[in-house]
Symmetry: C2
Subunit: 422 residues, 2 copies
């Protein structure tokens, strides 16, 4: 915390004191006025280099000099981050090297734990015992799980139509769940109101500047694991826009403290049916971000967002990074999901597979140079949505418990394979 | 591999050469004749101590001097093991300290990956391209995932009645799945026959001595993470009996190589409705293990085993360890699952929560000494079976998107809480 010099509004640029505000810029409002945490990069950088100089990556605590946290003991007592980075050298004939950062092994099986950890720590440092959010997905289960581990209460607002299984997980973690008869946006606004009334800490998407700080740890960790030799481009799926913002900020800060020369280009991948940020980015010319919300429809439920809450940061940061956005169809997402599982043994949820689908699309379009190295973030486990995964595959072969039936099926399979090859 | 001196039949004691047999003792047959890997503990111990002398735990490769593996490059290219060990110091008023080893963050979200990794490596070292097993659960998804990552084919035999979601995961990983119209036992036997006919490597439960070697890595890792100061007792859930056998063997070998003075007592926990091994243990007097298979019924599907395949090892090893078995009801499992999620933020599948239920039972019965430290293994993620988790919890609170409705519900909640406290 000592390295933080202020909180800057991402729209009007006004800088507030490090502890002056909790959420957003009062002049610009809840969505345009998201704040960013500014550090004294000289002192933070010195400390950061000392901390990463020894040992190996185990979790996000390693990067505390560049995080808004006073006391490491305020973090949830679970292992957040320290997820594996896999190098695959033969993903396609066209790519020298690909790195996959698999965040599905986090405590609640998604990248969101990185952000939640910081929100939980902040609430504990302020001695607030209840934390809230509006979400149906990974942010909610992350909050419910990490808050439970920290002995905190949670109140979670979900649209009443949310899948039963997702709500079930929240209830198991002991969250107080309000099923709101209305849209996600109505649940979001109700959560805001209730948080204010009851002085609950609010972890809803994009509302709190510390969330993006947690999300940048994936960038720091990837760089650390590669000994500060990052790939040329990094692909990540985009819903509300917080993870892509976090990655851009993380890489930028590593340049700032001289650990890398140049940030990798960050490529944000959206579903064709939920492409509000990609469209805003295409219209963007460096001035004010034009927001035109749309309806959302995609199998990738974790990025099925029509009114993205971190759109201003996502567009501005990606523009500054030199990155870009692209969109993929549900079919491309399904087939990427299956390929990731079959070629790499990584079972991703559809939203997470979207980043890999984006890489494949970029590759097919010839967007990638011959010698370029590429990174891909897998942001959530396929176990979160097995029914979606099923859509891309054929059923099992039914047999009686007789070897002869297995033999027939094998011959049939061989014949089919031979036919395929002819 | 160089440290292996032979394979010993766990029933007749006959010792075979290190590469003389692949599966079981021909004299004692597939179930009684499970083999155990014997090492030259002097040379293995020396190497082991050098390897663990530096760095931190990252994955099972760290323990290769005590593993049947020639070339570390044969292991699947994913991070197996290196899972977090959490110390909770206030679990109950009666316990000084509890350690929870959470294996749900493995690549396919269960402890089984430790065993599968060794089977995949062995198959690759023998240049066998297809690997098979009979299973509906974690062993099958583990095999499908890790084999896919290694570029191998898998053939998996499941009873046709297996839950669709579990089969779906196998299909996504690209496994060839045979849905056998019959019981698990029929699928198991069919798998044996087919493996023999087609020269597929067989990873079915207990058939291959290397599986228990992979499973012992959890014991080695827990000891390593605690700097060789292990708790007094360790609780683990028991289905086929391979994990409990692996833990006993791992701890014993650490005594053998002088890294610890005494093995912790291993407490195997079975569901009341699937207690074949616990019953056999209670009858056991050090001679031959008496096998009396029973039908199985429990919500903890991963340990719902009536005809446990590794019963001989499990009973003999636990007896020698000085450990014991106990059983828990489905209600106790459900309530342990909820407590683990709510107090620790760990979302376990029912079979994994059974170990924690066993700890609670032992505690309530006064089986644990006042100063005893305890370890608990969590062997699989709750995301594997969300519907089972749901059974232990109440539904959400429905509201319209109006703050007044939240207020009423909060007041109601407060009144109820007050009533609970009165």
């Amino acid at each position: 915390m000592k390295n933080i010099t202020g909180l800057r509004c991402v729209s009007c640029g006004k800088v507030y004191g490090p502890t002056e505000l909790d959420y957003t810029c009062p002049d610009c409002g809840t969505r345009k006025g998201t704040l960013e945490v500014v550090y004294d990069y000289e002192s933070a950088g010195k400390e950061f280099k000392e901390d990463v100089g020894e040992g190996t990556v185990t979790d996000i605590k390693r990067y505390s000099s560049l995080l808004p946290i006073e006391n490491l003991g305020s973090l949830p007592p679970l292992k957040i981050g320290g997820t594996p980075l896999y190098g695959f050298h033969e993903l396609t004939d066209d790519l020298d090297r690909i790195w996959i950062k698999d965040d599905s092994g986090n405590p609640t099986a998604s990248y969101k734990d990185r952000a939640t950890a910081l929100a939980v720590a902040a609430a504990r440092e302020k001695d607030i015992g209840t934390i809230t959010c509006a979400s149906t997905g990974n942010a909610a289960s992350s909050l419910a799980g990490l808050a439970a581990a920290s002995g905190m209460e949670t109140v979670i607002f979900v649209p009443a139509a949310a899948p039963e299984a997702k709500i079930a997980q929240l209830l198991v973690y002991g969250a107080n769940v309000f099923a709101v008869e209305g849209s996600y946006d109505q649940a979001y606004d109700l959560c805001l109101e209730a948080a204010e009334k009851y002085n609950w800490y609010n972890r809803s998407a994009a509302i709190h500047p510390y969330l993006v700080e947690g999300k940048k740890t994936g960038a720091l960790e990837m760089a650390d694991q590669l000994d500060w030799n990052l790939p040329d481009k990094v692909f990540v799926s985009v819903g509300d826009g917080s993870i892509v913002s976090g990655l851009c900020k993380g890489f930028k800060e590593l340049v700032e403290i001289d650990l890398i020369d140049e940030a990798p280009r960050v490529i944000g991948v959206q579903a064709e049916g939920a492409d509000t940020i990609a469209r805003a980015f295409d219209r963007y010319d460096g001035g004010e971000v034009e927001i035109a919300d749309r309806s959302a429809s995609t199998i990738a439920d974790s990025i099925s967002v029509g009114k993205p809450r971190d759109i201003v940061k996502a567009v501005k940061y990606t523009y500054e990074n030199g990155g870009r956005f692209l969109t993929v169809s549900d079919e491309e997402i399904s087939s990427a999901l299956v390929e990731l599982a079959r070629k790499r043994g990584i079972f991703a949820e559809p939203a997470a597979a979207a980043s890999y689908a984006g890489l494949k699309k970029a590759l097919n379009r010839g967007d990638l140079g011959d010698s370029e190295e590429v990174g891909v973030f897998i942001t959530g486990s396929g176990l979160k949505d097995v029914s979606a995964a099923k859509k891309g595959v054929k059923g099992p072969t039914k047999v009686s418990p007789e070897l002869s039936e297995v033999e027939s099926a094998m011959e049939e399979g061989t014949r089919n394979a031979a036919r395929d090859n002819s």
